[in-house]
Amino acid sequence: MSGGGVHPARPFREAAQDTLADAQMRRNLRHATTTIREKRKRAVAELPDWEALRVAGAAIKDEALSRLGELLPQLEEAVAKAGGTVHWARDAEEACGIVAKIAQAHGAWEVVKVKSIATDEIELNQALEAKGIHAVETDLAELICQLGEDRPSHILVPAIHRNRAEVRDLFRAKLGADLPTDEPAALAGAARAYLREKFLTTKVAVSGANFAVAETGTVGVVESEGNGRMCLTLPEVLITVMGIEKILPRWEDVATFLRLLPRSSTAERMNPYTSMWTGVRKGDGPREFHLVLLDAGRTDVLADPVGRQTLRCIRCSACLNVCPVYERAGGHAYGSVYPGPIGAILTPQLLGMHDDHANTLPYASSLCGACYDVCPVRIDIPEVLIYLRGKTGHALSERAAMKAVAWAMGDPGRFRLAIRLARRGQGPLVHDGTIRWLPGMLGGWTSVRDAPALPNRSFRELWKERKEGRGE
């Protein structure tokens, strides 16, 4: 059952201990992320003004977020004028209820779906299942996850944790497909045959949206396989679930994002298919179009002046592909459909930092900043990570220790003395130049890291000796 929600079941460190042990996942993931990192660099280097584009993207998103109160009604009016219906959903439950109601009104016991992380977030498939409506995932990776009863582990390549032999076995078992080989082309062929029948006969489709233009009421879906086009065009009824932060102010803004998104996500100049539609159109596509605007915690994030930039996210997954933590721990360790660096700041903000599992996510980072460098909309993820860390409760002993350290570092003389004492005291802890164990609270550091021993001269001491040696 694809869809996995945003509520981590465990603290990150605990979940990561398990996922780190999955050698196959790590191999697949390392191959995938390394490949796409290089491709992305090439794709981005082709445009002469990538940095200017990032700045423009961030500015447009900031405008959209700051003017949501104006833009959402404007979008609603434009969609309605074009024959669509707009619904508003405060939370996941309400959104699922709206979708179910529309499907039921059309007597649909099966719906086809285009990949939509927002619908995974709200666990739509489970909610529909509970009402006797089966949602068929049509994106190849989501289909794999659905058949394997798995949660997606990557925003873009959700089944990256599965290899081709596993996929072949899954298709044989669940689709009854006759597959003598596990060549990806044969596997995709089996999926195509199974899904084509669904597309040509199913009445109701559910999709997400990459953007919606307030000015014109135009909604856009960016995809590769063509299952999006199938779902958006052939059924009679289309229901699109979209987070309110995906809105763009003007039609012309689409150009900026169509340049930023494909190069950042699949590292292509352009993805194979992008569909854009406004309301309904006689004789072309669905007779009925419903747009469900989803809040589900986004207005909380909006209210935080530092955290608000998180909502700029266009779900490209570039940050996942450069993150050393994600590469090793994998998506499942984050316990949410939003993994990686963006997940580490979005999940806890959507849920609130009081959530005891989600609030461990800001610590799933070495703060290397690679994510910020690649983010097409310049979300300063490290800034938000540190900000969120500041919001977790810290034990009295930790706060006292930090105060002591701040005191010691607050004066050059005190600092020099502290270093000298540490150097003397470290003796018994040093083995082969490293410290692998520290007592008490400090053990939190060394339980997952080796610290280098303090050298017998600090840089300042060496420098001073050098200066004195030269008689300066």
Partner: protein
């Protein structure tokens, strides 16, 4: 409070002060036409589209060479420039999807054009190819955009058949994505849907191996004219 009222109230309470982003006006590319056309051809081919370029007098020949069998066309696609073409056929009443393909005139391959006049999905599925014009093509990315305008048809028409041949007059090729978006504004304001096509369908979902042709036409031919 309705959901709408509550969400808008929460948005207002979030207290973000409105800012307006600076937008750079779109200017026509200063690059030479030939360079732009050549880049479009190259980049479209990169995505495994088959790209050919012909002069206006060679279109009919080129198109005839690429097509065979039942070819779907939009109701408003003129066919007189395809001088060899027999008249378009209608679906038969008696359950047979289409009458048999008429024998080719003048030694050309057998082609029967079928007008998409409210065909059912099953009827669309029974064709061999679809032939369309386009609205705009983009050199920066090797993309062709359809906007339900003349000769392009409804969206299902270019989705269901397995082979799509698109005719791209050189004057419709622009250099950059912003230029294309500007050209498409009028169609969008009229409520017309857009389909941006950059090669045949593809997926890299299994071990990141790129596999062509999942849903949508597995063969894409681009005929650049001019």
């Amino acid at each position: 409070m309705t959901a709408r009222e509550e969400i808008l109230a929460r948005v207002a309470a979030a207290g973000a002060s409105p800012v307006v982003a600076e937008r750079t006006p779109v200017t026509a590319s200063p690059r030479e036409r030939e360079a732009i056309v050549a880049q479009f051809a190259e980049y479209a081919a990169d995505y495994k589209a088959n790209v050919v370029r012909v002069g206006p007098e060679g279109v009919a020949e080129a198109v005839a060479g690429l097509l065979s069998g039942r070819v779907l066309v939009a109701p408003d696609l003129p066919l007189d420039w395809l001088e060899f073409a027999p008249p378009a056929v209608e679906p038969a009443e008696d359950g047979e999807p289409f009458p048999p393909v008429p024998s080719p005139p003048e030694g050309r391959g057998g082609i029967a054009f079928v007008r998409d006049d409210g065909l059912t999905t099953a009827e669309l599925d029974a064709t061999d190819a679809v032939l369309t014009l386009c609205s705009v093509a983009i050199a920066e990315t090797g993309t062709v955009v359809l906007d339900a305008g003349m000769g392009q048809g409804r969206r299902a028409m270019t989705l269901v058949p397995d082979h799509h041949v698109v005719i791209v007059p050189v004057e419709r090729i622009v250099d950059t994505v912003p230029e294309a978006v500007a050209r498409l504004a009028a169609a969008v304001r009229e409520g017309r849907p857009l389909t941006w096509i950059s090669g045949p369908s593809a997926t890299s979902d299994i071990e990141l191996s790129r596999v062509e042709g999942v849903h949508g036409p597995r063969r894409l031919d681009v005929v650049i004219v001019g």
